[in-house]
Amino acid sequence: MRVPLTLMLGAGLTAVFAAAALISFLWTPFDVTQMAIAFRLLPPGGVHWLGTDHFGRDVLSMLMVGARTSIAVAIVAVGMGMVLGVPLGLLAAAARGSLLDEVIMRGNDLVFAFPALVIAILITAVFGPSALNAIIAIGIFNTPVFARVTRGAALSLWTLDYIRAARVAGKGPAQISVEHILPNIANLLIVQGTIQFSLGILAEAALSYVGLGAQPPTPSWGRMLAEAQTMIALAPHLAIFPGLAIVLTVLGLNLMGDGLRDILDPRLRRAR
């Protein structure tokens, strides 16, 4: 099977950032908490490849550890959205047309109707800013996305003859959902997961930017951007590199999601 270019590019970009995050556990060029005022605001160069910030911390090291924060928050938040959303979607599809289906889907609409980021800010403002609260806030808004994707895909499967055959074989809705429906919509969920993952990274950056995500001294891309704001004329590299990191990660994940859909969606596969 030919691997589409978008998938290779996306997976490549994603792999670079995942590798940076993993390596940061073992090694960073400099200690991210170590300040060196004498070397502050250095432009990119030989010793500090991406320069230093206003406390003299190494930007590359902060970006690597920041990747860790972003990825951790996004993964857990997407996982939470899947764990809550997929069963709700399966349940709604199994009970299609019933009151339960209505309750689940209208509940989804309710969550959808709130501006996600504003509520996330509210949650972190009420419960205090921390990476954990950011995860919960982003996770809640991932739930209806997965519920709806799951229900839509599952509904089309419920009309197929092999589901009918399973019912004739005496299997109940729960067993059919797990044995027949879930494995056949896994592709879709993986693709959706990739897209939600990139949105999670954006949301984490946004929350950190307004100071409601990971707290200092833990580096985070959003807060790096916020801190760079006042010095943009003096040291533009402080804004450019975290900004690039966010853009490239999100781009990479979106391309990967697109590419995965191209090879996993059986309809697109057949069309080729």
């Binding site: 092999y162 055959a165 004739v168 074989a169 005496g170």
Partner: protein, 535 residues
């Protein structure tokens, strides 16, 4: 006069030959039938003529129409010819129309695009075309949307669009395959009239020999991308010179050898079954409309018997089948299986006694499971026995596959083989009743003949009772002892199959039988002798 002359049309996709030197002529004002089984290349021939061959296909040969070679024309010239000189209609009227445009706009669009009419004039002309195909203005205004029409009416709209510019050639690709027999007869009549009155030529593509027999002046038989035989319809039907033609004929009139052993024990009784569905409300205050899908149906299926249930789409046979299988509840009436009440809540041992084979060989299996796991699924009802693998192997052998097939995935099998797997799955719990829900309708004639043989053998071997649900009268006649005719939720006629088919009592049964296309009996003398060629 020759309208279009096709010579040595070959087509290959990525090096795989699809068409191999196809040559034929369509005369002006004639109907040319192209018959063959699925994958024989008959649709691809039509698409190649229209310049619609799939991307990456290499086409060679000539197709001359009025002195121009269609196969060498650039795309912009072809777009002008499509619709104007050659019209085309497809099998599936449900998807051939744009659901968000009115039928008037869609017919008018064809006229405007080809600059055959101004926008204002186009609607008047669209009206005239729709009148011509039998959709009169009082019942079918231009403002209707496709979803407000039945399948047959939609196919009429498709025909109106295809003939809007009075093309010289109309290509009809399986135009009636998705339609009920009575509707099919009307659409075939319409096509015949259009050819006769407007002097159009028709290239009719179909798998159904009987349709061709009643309509075409000349016929070509296609097999594996080649035309193996062609000639005037009657002569070709009578002589059947090519072995493949003989096999096709034998298969389509095939009668499996059956040894019925009906006993008097009733296995399944349905008494006064009723099922009504509530439709979405149109207005907040009016009561929600309802449709009475099954209205007081009673039937009995005896041990070892083969009972047919025929009816057109929407007659309620699916609802009734689902109720019998315990997939849906009835509102009143009773279903008893083996003397015990049955329904959605029935016990597993009761369910194990009645199993089903569905129509679609492609949608019947979880694509991620191996055949072994698929066939063993109904063991959920009985508990999986220790020797389940041996039982699966036996079931596979019973249906003419090999035990080694157990480790394969469904996509590795053809449609007919998949239907065998579906039968193996249905038989694994040793049921007494097998419900065959359009089980052979999606299969090619030769494959269908073999599956019918298999069903006859299995019935003799295991003393099974069959409830055979189908819209195809030929098949029902070949495999059942007794038949029920269903219309609008009611059984209108019931009796021994031979009697119902030769001397129908109810006008609807008579109408169904009259509408079913048949090959004139004297054309096919001796075709049965060829049935040996099948096995």
């Amino acid at each position: 006069m020759t309208l279009i002359s096709v010579r040595d049309l070959s087509l290959a996709i990525a090096g795989t030959p699809i068409l191999d030197r196809v040559s034929f002529d369509v005369q002006a004002g004639q109907i040319f039938g192209l018959v063959g089984e699925s994958g024989s290349g008959k649709s691809m021939t039509a698409l190649a003529l229209m310049g619609l061959a799939p991307h990456g296909a290499t086409v060679s040969g000539h197709a001359r129409m009025n002195g121009t070679d269609l196969l060498s024309l650039p795309e912009d010239r072809l777009t002008r010819i499509r619709g104007a000189e050659i019209g085309m209609i497809f099998q599936e009227p449900m998807t051939a129309l744009n659901p968000v445009q009115t039928i008037g706009d869609q017919v008018a669009e064809t006229l405007v695009i080809h600059a055959a009419a101004t926008r204002a004039d186009a609607r008047t002309q669209a009206r005239a075309r729709l009148d011509r195909v039998g959709l009169s203005g009082d019942r079918f205004p231009l403002s209707l949307y496709p979803h407000e029409l039945s399948g047959g009416q939609r196919q009429r709209v498709c025909i109106a669009m295809a003939v809007a510019l009075r093309p010289k050639l109309l290509i009809a690709d399986e135009p009636t395959t998705a339609l009920d027999v009575t509707t099919q007869a009307q659409i075939l009549d319409l096509l015949r009239d259009l050819v006769r009155d407007d002097g159009m030529s028709l290239l009719l593509i179909t798998h159904d020999l009987a349709v061709v027999a009643g309509l075409a002046d000349r016929v070509a038989v296609m097999q594996a991308g080649r035309i193996v035989e062609q000639g005037p319809t009657e002569a070709l039907f009578r002589t059947r010179a090519h072995p493949y033609t003989r096999r096709l004929f034998a298969a389509s009139s095939h009668q499996p050898a059956r040894h019925t052993q009906t006993q008097d024990t009733p296995l399944l009784t349905v008494t006064k079954a009723h099922r009504t569905y509530t439709l979405p409300r149109h207005s907040l205050f009016a009561p929600a409309p309802t449709v009475r899908a099954v209205r007081g149906v009673s039937l009995t299926l005896r041990a070892g018997e083969s009972l047919g249930l025929v009816g057109e789409s929407g007659c309620g046979k699916s609802t009734l089948t689902h109720a019998i299988l315990g997939l849906e509840a009835l509102q009143s009436g009773e279903i008893r299986l083996f003397g015990r009440p049955a329904g959605p809540g029935m016990s597993n041992d009761l369910r194990a006694g009645i199993q089903v084979v569905f129509q679609d060989p492609y949608g019947s299996f979880n694509p991620r499971w191996r055949v072994e796991k698929l066939i063993a699924e109904p063991f959920h009802l009985t508990g999986r026995p220790a020797d389940w693998r041996a039982r699966v192997a036996t079931a596979l052998t019973d249906v003419g596959l090999t035990p080694a097939d157990a480790q394969k995935y469904p996509h590795e099998f053809s449609g007919g083989q998949r239907q065998r797997i579906a039968i193996a799955r249905a038989l694994i719990t040793k049921p007494k009743i097998l419900v065959l829900d359009e089980a052979v309708s999606a299969l090619d004639v030769s494959v269908r003949a073999r599956i019918l043989d298999l069903l006859a053998d299995l019935q003799a071997q295991y003393g099974l009772a069959y409830l055979f649900i189908s819209h195809d009268l030929h098949v029902v006649r070949a495999i059942t002892d007794r038949v029920l005719v269903m219309k609008a939720g009611q059984i209108v006629e019931e009796g021994p199959t031979t009697r119902v088919f030769t001397a129908p009592q109810h006008p609807y049964t008579a109408e169904l039988i009259a509408a079913t296309p048949v090959i004139p009996p004297d054309w096919t003398e001796g075709a049965d002798d060829d049935s040996r060629a099948l096995v």
